[in-house]
Symmetry: C2
DNA sequence: TCATCATATCATTAAGCGATGATACGATGA
DNA sequence: TCATCGTATCATCGCTTAATGATATGATGA
């Protein structure tokens, strides 16, 4: 069977991986590994701006990667499926082997860029408070 | 430990997932599941253009997802690690559950777009030959 | 009701990145 | 050596999309 005939199917996989292909979203998912958190807490932990965090959460939520639950004026987010963790761990395993090469891969500037969130690195911002 | 302190680490994961977040590259990886193939064969199977295929192969190769081996004037590509297959299968599992939502997710136009490779869909192009 | 807090939305901007077409490279056989 | 085949490279273009700042929405308590 020609792969071509099923190329449409890759759209979904591509979307899933695209959702996971952003440092900020990965940081959010990681933050949620230990359990549900309200948005404000996610903002603190990740160092992302409030609107940026909210945008990413909407993205993750619409894609079914996280789920939301309102409690009072807080909205708690949690990982929607345990397999998301599994996927992330498997990626870690793979990275243990090919990580060095991926690091050297210049096709995607995403991870090599100087951090553009707010000003300076998250660590720097943390120090400034 | 604040996730923030390790945010740099997500760069690698992000890159890995970004490498997997493209329909064309997924099609190429799928094509290589059954064993090594020369570039020309990949071009046929996926319906991608030659230069486009070559570009993606370079990307995948530099990131360590596929490996290349020259044989005569052909260059055979293969999956570099079995865990790549595992990762793709796990993604399939996850998609079985959240696939519908991801399909409805409009944050990424990538997979919903009308196919812009060459003219028309790959299937249409195949029929034209 | 009003002020405030927590979160969401939106327009804008700048950069990322995939596809293409032309061209270069390198191996092979005549 | 020359023509050809298989593959790689490169510049260019247009769409995609992450981040920001301002603003809106909605819940809560005084």
């Amino acid at each position: 069977m020609l792969v071509m005939d099923r190329i449409e199917a890759y759209g979904l996989q591509a979307k899933l991986f695209r959702g996971l292909s952003d440092e900020s979203r990965l940081a959010i998912l990681e933050a949620l590994r230990d359990g549900p958190l309200p948005v404000g807490r996610i903002v603190e932990v990740t160092g992302l701006s409030q609107s940026n965090t909210s945008n990413h959460l909407r993205c993750l939520s619409e894609c079914g990667l996280v789920s939301a639950e309102q409690q009072g004026r807080f909205v708690y987010y949690r990982l929607a499926d345990t397999r998301i963790e599994t996927l992330l761990r498997l990626a870690d395993d793979l990275l243990a082997e090919v990580g060095r090469r991926i690091y050297a891969c210049t096709n995607y500037r995403g991870s090599t860029k100087t951090d553009t969130r707010a000003t300076g690195t998250p660590a720097q911002r943390q120090g400034r408070r």
